[in-house]
Protein backbone atom coordinates (compact mmCIF):
# COMPACT_ATOMS: atom_id res chain seq x y z
CA UNK A 1 0.00 0.00 0.00
CA UNK A 2 2.89 2.33 0.83
CA UNK A 3 4.56 1.46 -2.48
CA UNK A 4 1.41 2.55 -4.31
CA UNK A 5 1.48 5.89 -2.49
CA UNK A 6 5.06 6.93 -3.27
CA UNK A 7 4.23 9.34 -6.12
CA UNK A 8 1.50 10.90 -4.03
CA UNK A 9 3.99 11.38 -1.20
CA UNK A 10 6.32 13.03 -3.70
CA UNK A 11 3.47 15.38 -4.67
CA UNK A 12 2.94 16.22 -0.97
CA UNK A 13 6.67 16.98 -0.62
CA UNK A 14 6.49 19.34 -3.60
CA UNK A 15 3.42 20.99 -2.06
CA UNK A 16 5.34 21.40 1.20
CA UNK A 17 8.19 23.16 -0.64
CA UNK A 18 5.67 25.45 -2.29
CA UNK A 19 4.03 26.24 1.04
CA UNK A 20 7.47 26.99 2.49
CA UNK A 21 8.31 29.31 -0.38
CA UNK A 22 4.95 31.09 -0.22
CA UNK A 23 4.66 31.35 3.57
CA UNK A 24 5.95 34.79 4.63
CA UNK A 25 6.23 33.70 8.26
CA UNK A 26 9.24 31.54 7.37
CA UNK A 27 11.01 34.41 5.66
CA UNK A 28 10.85 36.99 8.45
CA UNK A 29 14.15 37.22 10.27
CA UNK A 30 15.13 38.84 13.58
CA UNK A 31 16.86 41.81 11.98
CA UNK A 32 13.66 42.64 10.04
CA UNK A 33 11.14 42.19 12.84
CA UNK A 34 11.24 43.73 16.28
CA UNK A 35 8.39 42.09 18.21
CA UNK A 36 8.13 38.37 18.96
CA UNK A 37 4.61 38.02 17.58
CA UNK A 38 5.70 39.37 14.23
CA UNK A 39 8.83 37.24 14.30
CA UNK A 40 6.96 33.95 14.56
CA UNK A 41 3.98 34.96 12.47
CA UNK A 42 2.19 32.14 14.29
CA UNK A 43 -1.21 32.42 12.70
CA UNK A 44 0.17 32.42 9.18
CA UNK A 45 2.44 29.45 9.81
CA UNK A 46 -0.36 27.56 11.51
CA UNK A 47 -2.60 28.12 8.48
CA UNK A 48 0.12 26.99 6.08
CA UNK A 49 0.54 23.84 8.15
CA UNK A 50 -3.23 23.27 8.24
CA UNK A 51 -3.53 23.79 4.49
CA UNK A 52 -0.65 21.39 3.89
CA UNK A 53 -2.26 18.72 6.07
CA UNK A 54 -5.63 19.13 4.34
CA UNK A 55 -4.05 19.12 0.88
CA UNK A 56 -1.94 16.08 1.78
CA UNK A 57 -5.10 14.17 2.72
CA UNK A 58 -6.77 15.17 -0.55
CA UNK A 59 -3.71 14.13 -2.60
CA UNK A 60 -3.17 10.87 -0.72
CA UNK A 61 -6.83 9.87 -0.90
CA UNK A 62 -7.75 11.13 -4.39
CA UNK A 63 -9.72 8.38 -6.15
CA UNK A 64 -8.99 5.80 -3.49
CA UNK A 65 -12.52 4.38 -3.71
CA UNK A 66 -13.88 5.94 -6.91
CA UNK A 67 -11.01 4.70 -9.11
CA UNK A 68 -11.43 1.17 -7.77
CA UNK A 69 -15.12 1.31 -8.61
CA UNK A 70 -14.70 2.99 -12.00
CA UNK A 71 -11.79 0.87 -13.25
CA UNK A 72 -13.04 -2.39 -11.77
CA UNK A 73 -9.97 -3.11 -9.60
CA UNK A 74 -12.32 -4.15 -6.81
CA UNK A 75 -13.52 -7.21 -8.73
CA UNK A 76 -10.42 -9.28 -8.19
CA UNK A 77 -9.33 -7.59 -4.95
CA UNK A 78 -12.58 -8.20 -3.10
CA UNK A 79 -13.01 -11.77 -4.31
CA UNK A 80 -10.27 -12.54 -1.78
CA UNK A 81 -11.33 -12.86 1.86
CA UNK A 82 -11.04 -9.21 2.79
CA UNK A 83 -13.47 -6.52 3.87
CA UNK A 84 -13.60 -3.49 1.56
CA UNK A 85 -14.40 -1.25 4.51
CA UNK A 86 -11.38 -2.49 6.47
CA UNK A 87 -9.09 -2.03 3.47
CA UNK A 88 -10.28 1.51 2.80
CA UNK A 89 -10.16 2.36 6.52
CA UNK A 90 -6.56 1.16 6.60
CA UNK A 91 -5.74 3.29 3.57
CA UNK A 92 -7.44 6.31 5.18
CA UNK A 93 -5.61 5.83 8.47
CA UNK A 94 -2.29 5.41 6.66
CA UNK A 95 -2.97 8.63 4.74
CA UNK A 96 -3.69 10.47 7.99
CA UNK A 97 -0.42 9.23 9.49
CA UNK A 98 1.52 10.22 6.36
CA UNK A 99 -0.17 13.62 6.14
CA UNK A 100 0.56 14.42 9.78
CA UNK A 101 4.12 13.10 9.46
CA UNK A 102 4.67 15.32 6.44
CA UNK A 103 3.19 18.28 8.34
CA UNK A 104 5.36 17.64 11.41
CA UNK A 105 8.48 17.32 9.24
CA UNK A 106 7.52 20.51 7.46
CA UNK A 107 7.11 22.27 10.82
CA UNK A 108 10.53 21.10 12.08
CA UNK A 109 12.58 21.48 8.90
CA UNK A 110 10.78 24.68 7.91
CA UNK A 111 11.83 26.31 11.15
CA UNK A 112 15.38 24.95 10.95
CA UNK A 113 15.73 26.16 7.38
CA UNK A 114 14.27 29.58 8.15
CA UNK A 115 15.72 30.34 11.54
CA UNK A 116 18.21 27.58 12.36
CA UNK A 117 16.28 26.71 15.53
CA UNK A 118 12.87 25.43 16.69
CA UNK A 119 10.66 28.26 17.93
CA UNK A 120 7.23 26.60 17.94
CA UNK A 121 6.18 23.17 19.08
CA UNK A 122 3.47 20.51 18.78
CA UNK A 123 0.72 23.04 19.53
CA UNK A 124 0.95 23.99 15.89
CA UNK A 125 -0.12 20.48 14.84
CA UNK A 126 -3.61 20.69 16.36
CA UNK A 127 -5.01 22.85 13.60
CA UNK A 128 -3.44 20.66 10.86
CA UNK A 129 -4.88 17.55 12.53
CA UNK A 130 -8.37 19.03 12.48
CA UNK A 131 -7.94 20.09 8.84
CA UNK A 132 -6.70 16.61 7.97
CA UNK A 133 -9.80 15.10 9.60
CA UNK A 134 -12.12 17.56 7.85
CA UNK A 135 -10.65 17.17 4.35
CA UNK A 136 -9.88 13.48 4.81
CA UNK A 137 -13.53 12.90 5.71
CA UNK A 138 -14.81 15.01 2.82
CA UNK A 139 -12.53 13.36 0.25
CA UNK A 140 -13.53 9.92 1.47
CA UNK A 141 -17.20 10.82 1.14
CA UNK A 142 -16.80 12.23 -2.37
CA UNK A 143 -14.70 9.23 -3.36
CA UNK A 144 -17.40 6.82 -2.20
CA UNK A 145 -20.15 8.86 -3.86
CA UNK A 146 -18.75 10.11 -7.16
CA UNK A 147 -17.35 8.10 -10.07
CA UNK A 148 -14.52 10.64 -10.49
CA UNK A 149 -13.45 14.13 -9.41
CA UNK A 150 -13.51 13.47 -5.66
CA UNK A 151 -10.32 15.43 -5.00
CA UNK A 152 -11.54 18.38 -7.05
CA UNK A 153 -14.81 18.37 -5.13
CA UNK A 154 -12.88 18.59 -1.85
CA UNK A 155 -10.69 21.42 -3.20
CA UNK A 156 -13.84 23.18 -4.41
CA UNK A 157 -15.30 22.87 -0.91
CA UNK A 158 -12.16 24.54 0.46
CA UNK A 159 -12.35 27.53 -1.88
CA UNK A 160 -16.13 27.78 -1.58
CA UNK A 161 -15.67 28.07 2.20
CA UNK A 162 -13.04 30.76 1.79
CA UNK A 163 -15.29 32.72 -0.56
CA UNK A 164 -18.27 32.28 1.74
CA UNK A 165 -16.35 33.38 4.82
CA UNK A 166 -14.96 36.41 2.95
CA UNK A 167 -18.44 37.38 1.78
CA UNK A 168 -20.14 36.97 5.11
CA UNK A 169 -17.20 38.08 7.25
CA UNK A 170 -14.76 40.62 5.85
CA UNK A 171 -17.09 41.92 3.13
CA UNK A 172 -19.94 42.14 5.62
CA UNK A 173 -22.53 40.88 3.13
CA UNK A 174 -25.58 39.03 4.37
CA UNK A 175 -26.83 37.12 1.33
CA UNK A 176 -29.86 34.82 1.44
CA UNK A 177 -32.03 34.31 4.49
CA UNK A 178 -30.51 33.76 7.95
CA UNK A 179 -31.66 30.13 7.88
CA UNK A 180 -30.04 29.45 4.50
CA UNK A 181 -26.85 31.19 5.65
CA UNK A 182 -26.83 28.93 8.68
CA UNK A 183 -27.38 25.80 6.57
CA UNK A 184 -24.59 26.74 4.14
CA UNK A 185 -22.19 27.52 7.00
CA UNK A 186 -23.10 24.19 8.58
CA UNK A 187 -22.49 22.19 5.39
CA UNK A 188 -19.22 23.87 4.38
CA UNK A 189 -15.97 22.82 6.09
CA UNK A 190 -15.65 24.41 9.55
CA UNK A 191 -12.70 26.74 8.93
CA UNK A 192 -13.92 29.16 11.59
CA UNK A 193 -14.18 26.46 14.24
CA UNK A 194 -10.66 25.26 13.44
CA UNK A 195 -9.41 28.83 13.63
CA UNK A 196 -11.16 29.28 17.00
CA UNK A 197 -9.49 26.14 18.32
CA UNK A 198 -6.10 27.47 17.31
CA UNK A 199 -6.75 30.92 18.82
CA UNK A 200 -7.84 29.24 22.05
CA UNK A 201 -4.68 27.13 22.19
CA UNK A 202 -2.49 30.18 21.63
CA UNK A 203 -4.38 31.87 24.45
CA UNK A 204 -3.79 28.83 26.63
CA UNK A 205 -7.25 27.26 26.65
CA UNK A 206 -8.86 24.34 24.88
CA UNK A 207 -12.10 25.25 23.13
CA UNK A 208 -13.63 21.80 23.26
CA UNK A 209 -16.95 22.60 21.54
CA UNK A 210 -15.15 24.08 18.52
CA UNK A 211 -12.60 21.23 18.45
CA UNK A 212 -15.31 18.57 18.71
CA UNK A 213 -17.40 20.30 16.06
CA UNK A 214 -14.47 20.42 13.62
CA UNK A 215 -13.42 16.84 14.29
CA UNK A 216 -17.05 15.71 14.25
CA UNK A 217 -17.56 17.34 10.86
CA UNK A 218 -14.75 15.28 9.35
CA UNK A 219 -15.81 12.10 11.11
CA UNK A 220 -19.42 12.60 10.01
CA UNK A 221 -18.42 12.55 6.32
CA UNK A 222 -16.07 9.67 7.00
CA UNK A 223 -18.93 7.70 8.53
CA UNK A 224 -21.13 8.62 5.56
CA UNK A 225 -18.39 7.31 3.25
CA UNK A 226 -18.22 4.08 5.27
CA UNK A 227 -21.98 3.69 4.99
CA UNK A 228 -21.81 4.15 1.23
CA UNK A 229 -19.00 1.59 0.89
CA UNK A 230 -20.98 -0.86 2.98
CA UNK A 231 -24.36 -0.42 1.31
CA UNK A 232 -23.79 0.59 -2.31
CA UNK A 233 -23.68 -2.02 -5.03
CA UNK A 234 -20.49 -2.26 -7.07
CA UNK A 235 -20.73 -1.39 -10.75
Amino acid sequence: MLRALWWRMAAVAIAALLFYALEPGFHEHEEEVTDLAGLLAPTAIAYSLANLAGLAMVVLLAGFISADRRRGYYRIAFSHPTRPLALYALRWGLSLVLAMTATALFLVFGQLAAWGELRVGPLYLVQPLLFALVYGGLTAFFSALLPRGDAWAAVLAFFATDVWLTLTGEAGLQPLTPLLRQVISFVLPPHLAVSDVYSGLVAGEVLWPAALYAAGYGLFWLAAAALLVRTREWP
Binding site: R75, I76, F78, S79, H80, P81, R83, E233, W234
Partner: protein, 309 residues
Protein backbone atom coordinates in the same frame (compact mmCIF):
# COMPACT_ATOMS: atom_id res chain seq x y z
CA UNK B 1 -22.87 -24.76 -2.02
CA UNK B 2 -24.42 -22.11 -4.27
CA UNK B 3 -28.15 -21.52 -4.11
CA UNK B 4 -30.16 -19.01 -6.06
CA UNK B 5 -33.87 -19.06 -5.32
CA UNK B 6 -36.33 -17.13 -7.46
CA UNK B 7 -33.77 -14.40 -7.99
CA UNK B 8 -34.90 -11.23 -9.69
CA UNK B 9 -32.45 -8.43 -10.47
CA UNK B 10 -33.59 -5.07 -11.78
CA UNK B 11 -31.23 -2.31 -12.86
CA UNK B 12 -32.62 1.14 -12.40
CA UNK B 13 -31.16 4.59 -12.12
CA UNK B 14 -33.03 7.26 -10.14
CA UNK B 15 -35.06 8.36 -13.20
CA UNK B 16 -35.98 4.81 -14.18
CA UNK B 17 -37.05 4.19 -10.59
CA UNK B 18 -39.27 7.26 -10.62
CA UNK B 19 -40.83 6.15 -13.90
CA UNK B 20 -40.96 2.58 -12.63
CA UNK B 21 -39.18 1.34 -15.75
CA UNK B 22 -36.28 -0.75 -14.51
CA UNK B 23 -34.33 -3.10 -16.76
CA UNK B 24 -34.86 -6.68 -15.60
CA UNK B 25 -31.60 -8.62 -15.94
CA UNK B 26 -32.69 -11.75 -14.06
CA UNK B 27 -36.26 -12.90 -13.79
CA UNK B 28 -36.93 -15.66 -11.27
CA UNK B 29 -33.71 -17.64 -11.55
CA UNK B 30 -33.42 -20.76 -9.41
CA UNK B 31 -30.16 -22.67 -9.58
CA UNK B 32 -28.21 -25.04 -7.33
CA UNK B 33 -24.52 -25.86 -7.47
CA UNK B 34 -23.81 -28.62 -4.98
CA UNK B 35 -20.35 -29.37 -3.54
CA UNK B 36 -18.34 -31.18 -6.20
CA UNK B 37 -20.52 -29.82 -9.02
CA UNK B 38 -19.25 -27.97 -12.06
CA UNK B 39 -22.02 -25.91 -13.61
CA UNK B 40 -21.73 -23.76 -16.70
CA UNK B 41 -23.86 -20.76 -17.59
CA UNK B 42 -24.44 -20.28 -21.27
CA UNK B 43 -26.67 -17.94 -23.17
CA UNK B 44 -26.63 -15.05 -25.58
CA UNK B 45 -25.31 -11.60 -24.73
CA UNK B 46 -27.62 -9.85 -22.28
CA UNK B 47 -29.02 -13.14 -20.98
CA UNK B 48 -27.95 -12.24 -17.43
CA UNK B 49 -24.80 -14.35 -17.01
CA UNK B 50 -22.53 -11.55 -15.75
CA UNK B 51 -25.25 -10.24 -13.46
CA UNK B 52 -25.58 -13.70 -11.93
CA UNK B 53 -21.81 -13.93 -11.42
CA UNK B 54 -21.75 -10.52 -9.71
CA UNK B 55 -24.61 -11.55 -7.46
CA UNK B 56 -22.57 -14.59 -6.41
CA UNK B 57 -19.67 -12.37 -5.41
CA UNK B 58 -21.96 -10.01 -3.51
CA UNK B 59 -21.13 -7.04 -5.74
CA UNK B 60 -24.82 -6.79 -6.57
CA UNK B 61 -27.83 -7.62 -4.42
CA UNK B 62 -30.96 -9.32 -5.72
CA UNK B 63 -34.09 -7.20 -6.09
CA UNK B 64 -36.13 -10.24 -5.03
CA UNK B 65 -35.25 -13.78 -4.05
CA UNK B 66 -32.24 -15.09 -2.21
CA UNK B 67 -28.65 -15.89 -3.09
CA UNK B 68 -26.56 -18.04 -0.76
CA UNK B 69 -23.00 -19.30 -0.99
CA UNK B 70 -22.01 -21.90 1.58
CA UNK B 71 -25.17 -21.06 3.56
CA UNK B 72 -24.23 -17.39 3.86
CA UNK B 73 -25.13 -14.22 1.98
CA UNK B 74 -22.54 -13.98 -0.82
CA UNK B 75 -20.64 -10.96 0.52
CA UNK B 76 -20.37 -12.53 3.98
CA UNK B 77 -19.09 -15.77 2.44
CA UNK B 78 -16.54 -14.02 0.22
CA UNK B 79 -15.26 -11.85 3.06
CA UNK B 80 -14.85 -14.91 5.27
CA UNK B 81 -13.61 -17.59 2.85
CA UNK B 82 -12.89 -15.94 -0.50
CA UNK B 83 -13.83 -17.17 -3.95
CA UNK B 84 -11.43 -18.16 -6.71
CA UNK B 85 -12.67 -15.67 -9.28
CA UNK B 86 -11.54 -14.88 -12.80
CA UNK B 87 -13.45 -11.92 -14.25
CA UNK B 88 -14.33 -11.51 -17.91
CA UNK B 89 -12.17 -8.40 -18.17
CA UNK B 90 -9.37 -8.61 -15.60
CA UNK B 91 -8.65 -5.15 -14.14
CA UNK B 92 -5.37 -4.87 -12.25
CA UNK B 93 -3.67 -1.52 -11.54
CA UNK B 94 -1.33 -0.98 -14.50
CA UNK B 95 1.58 0.23 -12.37
CA UNK B 96 1.81 -3.04 -10.44
CA UNK B 97 4.25 -5.75 -11.48
CA UNK B 98 2.99 -9.29 -11.98
CA UNK B 99 4.73 -10.45 -8.81
CA UNK B 100 3.64 -7.33 -6.91
CA UNK B 101 0.02 -7.98 -7.90
CA UNK B 102 0.22 -11.58 -6.71
CA UNK B 103 1.87 -10.47 -3.45
CA UNK B 104 -0.92 -7.91 -2.89
CA UNK B 105 -3.68 -10.43 -3.59
CA UNK B 106 -1.98 -13.00 -1.37
CA UNK B 107 -1.79 -10.40 1.41
CA UNK B 108 -5.46 -9.49 0.95
CA UNK B 109 -6.40 -13.15 1.14
CA UNK B 110 -4.03 -13.81 4.05
CA UNK B 111 -2.65 -16.78 2.10
CA UNK B 112 -0.53 -19.07 4.24
CA UNK B 113 3.08 -19.51 3.08
CA UNK B 114 2.40 -16.82 0.52
CA UNK B 115 5.86 -16.73 -1.01
CA UNK B 116 5.89 -20.44 -1.85
CA UNK B 117 2.32 -20.25 -3.09
CA UNK B 118 3.13 -17.31 -5.36
CA UNK B 119 6.14 -19.15 -6.78
CA UNK B 120 3.95 -22.19 -7.42
CA UNK B 121 1.27 -20.29 -9.37
CA UNK B 122 3.88 -18.25 -11.24
CA UNK B 123 5.45 -21.53 -12.33
CA UNK B 124 2.14 -23.21 -13.21
CA UNK B 125 0.91 -20.27 -15.26
CA UNK B 126 4.25 -19.74 -17.01
CA UNK B 127 4.56 -16.24 -15.59
CA UNK B 128 8.18 -16.50 -14.42
CA UNK B 129 9.64 -14.55 -17.38
CA UNK B 130 6.99 -11.85 -16.82
CA UNK B 131 7.18 -11.66 -13.03
CA UNK B 132 8.87 -8.25 -12.88
CA UNK B 133 6.95 -6.81 -15.84
CA UNK B 134 4.35 -4.11 -15.20
CA UNK B 135 0.72 -5.04 -15.77
CA UNK B 136 0.41 -2.20 -18.30
CA UNK B 137 2.93 -4.01 -20.52
CA UNK B 138 1.11 -7.36 -20.50
CA UNK B 139 -0.76 -8.71 -23.52
CA UNK B 140 -4.42 -9.67 -23.10
CA UNK B 141 -3.51 -13.35 -22.83
CA UNK B 142 -0.79 -12.75 -20.24
CA UNK B 143 -3.14 -10.56 -18.21
CA UNK B 144 -5.66 -13.39 -18.30
CA UNK B 145 -3.00 -15.79 -17.02
CA UNK B 146 -2.28 -13.38 -14.17
CA UNK B 147 -6.01 -13.33 -13.37
CA UNK B 148 -6.07 -17.13 -13.32
CA UNK B 149 -2.91 -17.21 -11.18
CA UNK B 150 -4.41 -14.98 -8.49
CA UNK B 151 -7.53 -17.15 -8.42
CA UNK B 152 -5.38 -20.18 -7.62
CA UNK B 153 -3.50 -18.49 -4.75
CA UNK B 154 -5.70 -19.49 -1.84
CA UNK B 155 -7.37 -22.76 -0.85
CA UNK B 156 -10.86 -21.76 -1.99
CA UNK B 157 -13.87 -24.07 -2.13
CA UNK B 158 -15.79 -22.11 -4.72
CA UNK B 159 -14.50 -21.07 -8.12
CA UNK B 160 -16.37 -18.60 -10.32
CA UNK B 161 -15.08 -18.08 -13.85
CA UNK B 162 -16.50 -15.45 -16.18
CA UNK B 163 -15.29 -16.07 -19.75
CA UNK B 164 -12.01 -17.36 -18.34
CA UNK B 165 -10.23 -18.21 -21.60
CA UNK B 166 -10.76 -14.89 -23.37
CA UNK B 167 -7.43 -13.92 -24.90
CA UNK B 168 -5.74 -17.25 -24.20
CA UNK B 169 -4.10 -19.07 -27.09
CA UNK B 170 -5.15 -22.70 -27.80
CA UNK B 171 -2.21 -24.12 -25.84
CA UNK B 172 -3.03 -22.11 -22.73
CA UNK B 173 -6.75 -22.80 -23.16
CA UNK B 174 -5.95 -26.52 -22.97
CA UNK B 175 -3.63 -25.99 -19.99
CA UNK B 176 -6.30 -23.92 -18.31
CA UNK B 177 -8.68 -26.88 -18.52
CA UNK B 178 -6.02 -29.07 -16.93
CA UNK B 179 -5.55 -26.51 -14.14
CA UNK B 180 -9.28 -26.43 -13.43
CA UNK B 181 -9.47 -30.23 -13.46
CA UNK B 182 -6.50 -30.40 -11.06
CA UNK B 183 -8.13 -27.76 -8.82
CA UNK B 184 -11.30 -29.83 -8.65
CA UNK B 185 -9.40 -33.05 -8.05
CA UNK B 186 -7.56 -31.57 -5.02
CA UNK B 187 -10.83 -31.47 -3.09
CA UNK B 188 -13.94 -33.30 -4.36
CA UNK B 189 -16.16 -30.88 -2.42
CA UNK B 190 -15.11 -27.92 -4.50
CA UNK B 191 -17.80 -26.24 -6.57
CA UNK B 192 -17.24 -24.57 -9.91
CA UNK B 193 -19.42 -22.16 -11.81
CA UNK B 194 -18.25 -21.04 -15.21
CA UNK B 195 -19.90 -18.56 -17.53
CA UNK B 196 -18.82 -18.84 -21.13
CA UNK B 197 -19.80 -18.42 -24.76
CA UNK B 198 -17.36 -21.16 -25.72
CA UNK B 199 -19.60 -24.24 -25.83
CA UNK B 200 -16.73 -26.54 -26.76
CA UNK B 201 -14.90 -25.48 -23.60
CA UNK B 202 -18.04 -25.72 -21.47
CA UNK B 203 -18.58 -29.32 -22.58
CA UNK B 204 -15.10 -30.23 -21.38
CA UNK B 205 -15.24 -28.43 -18.04
CA UNK B 206 -18.80 -28.63 -16.75
CA UNK B 207 -21.04 -31.42 -15.46
CA UNK B 208 -24.22 -29.46 -16.01
CA UNK B 209 -25.13 -26.51 -18.19
CA UNK B 210 -27.72 -23.90 -17.25
CA UNK B 211 -29.06 -22.16 -20.33
CA UNK B 212 -29.98 -18.56 -19.59
CA UNK B 213 -32.22 -16.61 -21.92
CA UNK B 214 -33.71 -13.19 -21.23
CA UNK B 215 -32.91 -13.50 -17.56
CA UNK B 216 -34.48 -16.92 -17.10
CA UNK B 217 -33.11 -20.45 -16.90
CA UNK B 218 -34.54 -22.05 -20.01
CA UNK B 219 -33.18 -25.50 -19.22
CA UNK B 220 -30.45 -27.31 -17.33
CA UNK B 221 -28.60 -29.91 -19.39
CA UNK B 222 -26.86 -32.73 -17.55
CA UNK B 223 -23.77 -33.50 -19.60
CA UNK B 224 -22.79 -36.51 -17.52
CA UNK B 225 -26.17 -38.24 -17.61
CA UNK B 226 -26.21 -41.44 -19.68
CA UNK B 227 -28.22 -41.30 -22.89
CA UNK B 228 -31.86 -42.29 -22.42
CA UNK B 229 -31.92 -44.85 -25.24
CA UNK B 230 -29.33 -46.50 -27.41
CA UNK B 231 -27.55 -43.72 -29.28
CA UNK B 232 -26.50 -43.75 -32.89
CA UNK B 233 -23.02 -45.14 -33.60
CA UNK B 234 -20.33 -44.31 -36.05
CA UNK B 235 -18.63 -47.34 -37.60
CA UNK B 236 -15.39 -47.12 -39.52
CA UNK B 237 -13.93 -50.11 -41.34
CA UNK B 238 -10.73 -50.92 -43.22
CA UNK B 239 -10.87 -50.88 -47.01
CA UNK B 240 -11.11 -54.59 -47.79
CA UNK B 241 -12.85 -56.18 -50.82
CA UNK B 242 -16.67 -56.19 -50.46
CA UNK B 243 -16.65 -54.48 -47.06
CA UNK B 244 -19.33 -51.91 -47.94
CA UNK B 245 -21.72 -54.65 -49.03
CA UNK B 246 -20.95 -56.63 -45.84
CA UNK B 247 -21.83 -53.61 -43.71
CA UNK B 248 -25.11 -53.05 -45.56
CA UNK B 249 -25.95 -56.72 -45.17
CA UNK B 250 -25.46 -56.62 -41.40
CA UNK B 251 -26.88 -53.12 -40.94
CA UNK B 252 -29.58 -52.61 -43.59
CA UNK B 253 -30.25 -49.00 -42.43
CA UNK B 254 -26.57 -47.95 -42.30
CA UNK B 255 -25.89 -44.59 -43.93
CA UNK B 256 -22.47 -44.01 -45.46
CA UNK B 257 -20.88 -40.67 -44.66
CA UNK B 258 -20.46 -38.29 -47.56
CA UNK B 259 -16.83 -37.63 -46.75
CA UNK B 260 -15.75 -41.25 -46.32
CA UNK B 261 -17.33 -44.33 -48.00
CA UNK B 262 -15.77 -46.48 -45.26
CA UNK B 263 -17.58 -44.68 -42.39
CA UNK B 264 -21.24 -45.37 -41.56
CA UNK B 265 -23.86 -44.08 -39.23
CA UNK B 266 -25.69 -46.93 -37.50
CA UNK B 267 -28.88 -46.79 -35.49
CA UNK B 268 -29.23 -50.19 -33.80
CA UNK B 269 -32.41 -51.09 -31.88
CA UNK B 270 -30.44 -52.40 -28.91
CA UNK B 271 -26.93 -53.05 -27.71
CA UNK B 272 -27.44 -56.81 -28.19
CA UNK B 273 -28.43 -56.23 -31.81
CA UNK B 274 -25.36 -54.00 -32.30
CA UNK B 275 -23.00 -56.56 -30.79
CA UNK B 276 -24.44 -59.43 -32.82
CA UNK B 277 -24.24 -57.48 -36.07
CA UNK B 278 -20.65 -56.33 -35.42
CA UNK B 279 -19.64 -59.91 -34.55
CA UNK B 280 -21.23 -61.07 -37.79
CA UNK B 281 -19.44 -58.33 -39.73
CA UNK B 282 -16.08 -59.37 -38.30
CA UNK B 283 -16.99 -62.97 -39.08
CA UNK B 284 -17.55 -61.89 -42.69
CA UNK B 285 -13.90 -60.79 -42.78
CA UNK B 286 -14.35 -57.05 -42.23
CA UNK B 287 -11.76 -55.21 -40.14
CA UNK B 288 -13.35 -52.68 -37.76
CA UNK B 289 -11.24 -49.57 -37.33
CA UNK B 290 -13.54 -47.67 -34.94
CA UNK B 291 -16.98 -47.90 -33.35
CA UNK B 292 -18.13 -44.96 -31.24
CA UNK B 293 -21.44 -43.56 -30.04
CA UNK B 294 -22.54 -40.37 -31.73
CA UNK B 295 -23.76 -37.93 -29.07
CA UNK B 296 -25.21 -34.57 -29.98
CA UNK B 297 -22.85 -31.72 -29.15
CA UNK B 298 -23.92 -29.07 -26.69
CA UNK B 299 -24.33 -26.67 -29.59
CA UNK B 300 -26.68 -29.12 -31.36
CA UNK B 301 -28.67 -29.61 -28.16
CA UNK B 302 -28.97 -25.87 -27.63
CA UNK B 303 -30.05 -25.33 -31.22
CA UNK B 304 -32.58 -28.13 -30.92
CA UNK B 305 -33.89 -26.57 -27.71
CA UNK B 306 -34.42 -23.27 -29.51
CA UNK B 307 -36.13 -25.05 -32.37
CA UNK B 308 -33.36 -24.02 -34.78
CA UNK B 309 -32.39 -26.43 -37.60
Amino acid sequence: MIRLTEVVKDYAGPLARLRRRPVRALDGVTLRVEPGDAVALVGPNGAGKSTLVRLLLGYLRPTHGTVEVGGLPPRAYVERHGVAYVPDVPAVPPGWTVRGALETYAALGEVAEAEARIEAVVERLGLAPLAERRVAALSRGNLQRLAIAQALLGPRRVMVLDEPTGGLDPEWTARFRELVAAWRAEDPERALLVSSHNLHEVERVADRVAVLEEGRVREVIDLRAPAAGVPAYRLEVEDTPGVAEAVRRRFPHAVAEDASPLAFRLEPGSLAELNAAVAGLIGDGAVVRALAPVRPTLEERLRAGRGAP
